[in-house]
């Protein structure tokens, strides 16, 4: 980009402010506060990709109650910061997942549930599936077909620890 004349004297003020804000957020004790807040407020977006969705539903339900950890399934991509990929990802759905991921504000995280999300599991030779890591970067994988709700909540706790460590 061509440097405008005013900027040649004062420097790029926008970039300067941005650098200061980033410095304040990431290099001061504010970072710990930020990480604490984010880790206890992981809201997954409503995007059910395949059949592990039943166990995803059960993990929010009374016996397992994932809301204890501050995890609250919420409506749209703009208000949430976590995608839970439930099982296999078809080619059609992969586009939707990518689109949703890009619509979400930073910082954002991905949990992938089930054997299908890791290496396609029982559908290893299917013609319509893609692996999750080809579509979005994954933070936590949960094995199982389907994984038990306890395992899903544990993955949330693991992600929380990862965020608090500064991941």
């Amino acid at each position: 980009m061509r440097v405008k004349e005013e900027q040649s004297l004062t420097g790029n003020i926008y970039n300067f402010v941005r650098k200061i804000v980033l410095w304040i957020i990431f290099k001061t004790p504010l970072k710990r506060l930020r990480n604490w807040g984010i880790s206890y407020s992981l809201w997954p977006v409503h995007l059910t990709t395949a059949c592990c969705g039943c166990e995803f539903g059960a993990s929010s339900a009374p016996r397992f109650d994932a809301e204890r950890t501050g995890y609250l399934p919420f409506v749209g991509p703009r208000q949430t910061n976590l995608i839970v990929i439930e099982g296999s990802l078809s080619k059609k759905m992969a586009n939707a997942v990518r689109l949703t991921y890009e619509q979400m504000p930073n910082p954002k995280y991905v949990i992938a549930l089930g054997a299908c999300a890791i290496d396609l599991g029982i559908f290893y030779d299917s013609y319509n599936l893609v692996r999750v890591d080809e579509v979005v970067p994954v933070d936590v994988y949960v094995p199982g077909c389907p994984p038990r709700p306890e395992a899903i909540i544990r993955s949330v706790v693991m992600l929380q620890r990862k965020i608090r460590r500064g991941g």
């Binding site: 080619k91 059609k92 030779d125 299917s126 013609y127 319509n128």
Partner: protein, 155 residues
């Protein structure tokens, strides 16, 4: 269901559809009618008037060696409790290279999504079907249709 009733239905149907189609018994309450594509709608209308009011499945089977695709309509009834104990297979054979068949949408509206799925996964085009568009696969799917035998999963 006792054998008498099946054989009565069998006899009724036999007298009704012959000589355009052949009827045979598969097992205790499964009947099979085989006919050619151009007679399909005629036979279907006869069957509908007899009391078979819906289609349970449209199965297309690919036989590359014989160069044919076999399309089976599994038909039964909700209204007539005697007929609902029978599943009747209405079979027709079509040319595998052309793979064009006649839609039964006008006779049984319940075939709509089943035929669309067959078009999508097997590539059989149904004439006079209201919507011969892709249903399950992505809209820009270009490869061989997956349920054909020459579509191999692992190369």
């Amino acid at each position: 269901m006792n054998i008498d009733e099946v054989s009565r239905v069998f006899k009724d149907l036999k007298s009704m559809i012959e000589p355009e189609a052949q009827i045979s018994i598969l097992s205790s309450n499964r009947l099979i009618i085989t006919t050619s594509t151009d007679k399909l709608e005629l036979i279907a209308n006869l069957l509908k008037n007899y009391g078979f009011d819906h289609v349970k499945s449209v199965t297309a089977i690919d036989y590359p060696m014989k160069n044919i695709i076999e399309i089976s309509y599994l038909i039964s009834s909700f209204n007539n409790l005697n007929l609902s104990k029978i599943i009747l297979t209405l079979k027709t054979l079509i040319d595998r290279n052309k793979s064009i068949s006649k839609s039964l949408y006008k006779v049984w509206p319940s075939v709509e999504f089943l035929e669309r799925e067959t078009y999508d996964l097997m590539g059989v085009f149904f004439e006079e079907h209201p919507e011969n568009t892709s249903l399950i696969l992505p809209e820009d799917y270009k490869d061989i249709r997956p349920l054909r035998k020459d579509f191999k999963l692992i190369k």
